[in-house]
Homo-oligomer: 218 residues x 2
């Protein structure tokens, strides 16, 4: 658990009875292996916090990017955006975005880099009949700094390939809207994927995961 | 457009060519009428900003609730939550939440009410093959103050019925986690549902919509 000041460690026993009817929903790993689907489809065990977090980020294609709205009294401003952290088997864990300053989020980030990016497992279809707020339907928030990438850097090349592969439509977006590549420099990770509160997970543990190893251990 | 300082009004002509292959995806209104589905399933025309916004909020069951993380340098902190604004045909437009201070979002809101709530149309399945960041796949952000409701108030009764009807699982959530009802007092609305930038939409226009009238005009 890396969000401080919140004591949620001891709750899981109260939730167990809610699980009984949903227990088999987590068995999606089995059919994925049997069908020889790409490694990115394997759902790691919830106890494998780093692998699980990377799986959730790698599998997802969109989320809510939050910045500080300088013109709305400093309110936290969430905005739906597409993203990619790389090709599924070569993912980095770092979410990259293709944003224009015609949209408020990019403008806000250029004034104040404080940001977070939030993803739910729910739209992936792997939560079964569980409610989106049920702790066993995973969610992750990556807290950090939203940074504009140097368009000529290797990181921008990685971001371009990552985004245009996952979101082919982006290649045709209007040049004169001046879309640019942004990346989230992660400082803190909030992951809920089971009962018992946020999983202890450092940024280092999260970033060092090799997604190919995740697939081999699944 | 109610988010200030952003000039996105003149963009739609550049996007039109992206629409051609997706134009028919917006025809989901037709089959809904033909099948005599509930009024909440009708997708209003994008030009009907208030009705469209209310439809998107009413149809959705979860989103990302953003608060200021007092223990993370004031970072904007997004969190996946379930919500309801009322029974589909009696919806209020005000999102209500069932939160515990064991989770950071409720704790943050009790210290600083500045908040926003963000919803994407993408998980509803009505965006066709469009990318989640494509402006014709709608998104809304309601900016305001996240307030704890008086548990004995009429508004709390409304919130309880709204939430427990849409999210029956909540009725069984652990009593000793002290879940409480929260509501978002809306100050500002950011709606994108087509090309040309955010739709001009005031809070008053949004709140005065009668969802039954929306269904009759669809």
């Amino acid at each position: 658990m890396t969000v401080k000041g919140v004591s949620i460690r001891h709750l899981w026993c109260f939730w167990v009875f809610l699980l009984i009817s949903d227990a088999f929903d987590l068995s999606v790993q089995g059919p994925s292996i049997a069908l020889n689907l790409p490694s990115s489809l394997f759902r790691p065990h919830p106890d494998e916090a780093a692998a699980f977090a990377r799986w959730l980020v790698s599998r997802s294609s969109w989320g809510v990017l939050n910045t500080i709205a300088s013109d709305l009294g400093g309110a936290p401003f969430g905005n739906v955006v597409s993203f990619s952290d790389g090709d599924p088997d070569k993912s980095s864990g770092i979410p990259y975005f293709y944003l224009t300053t015609l949209d408020p989020t990019a403008s806000y980030a250029l004034k104040d880099q404080r940001s977070s990016f939030t993803i739910s497992e729910y739209p992936l279809g792997t939560c079964g009949s569980k409610d989106p707020e049920n702790p066993s339907c995973a969610k992750i928030t990556l807290v950090g700094k939203l940074k504009l990438l140097d368009g000529n850097s290797k990181e921008a090349d990685f971001a371009r390939n990552a985004l245009f592969t996952k979101h082919p439509e982006m290649k045709g977006w209007p040049k004169n809207h001046h879309f640019q590549f942004f990346g989230l420099e992660i400082d803190d990770i909030f992951l809920i994927n089971w009962f018992g509160g946020p999983k202890p997970l450092t940024v280092e543990q999260y970033l060092q995961i090799d997604m190919n190893e995740v697939s081999h251990s699944a």
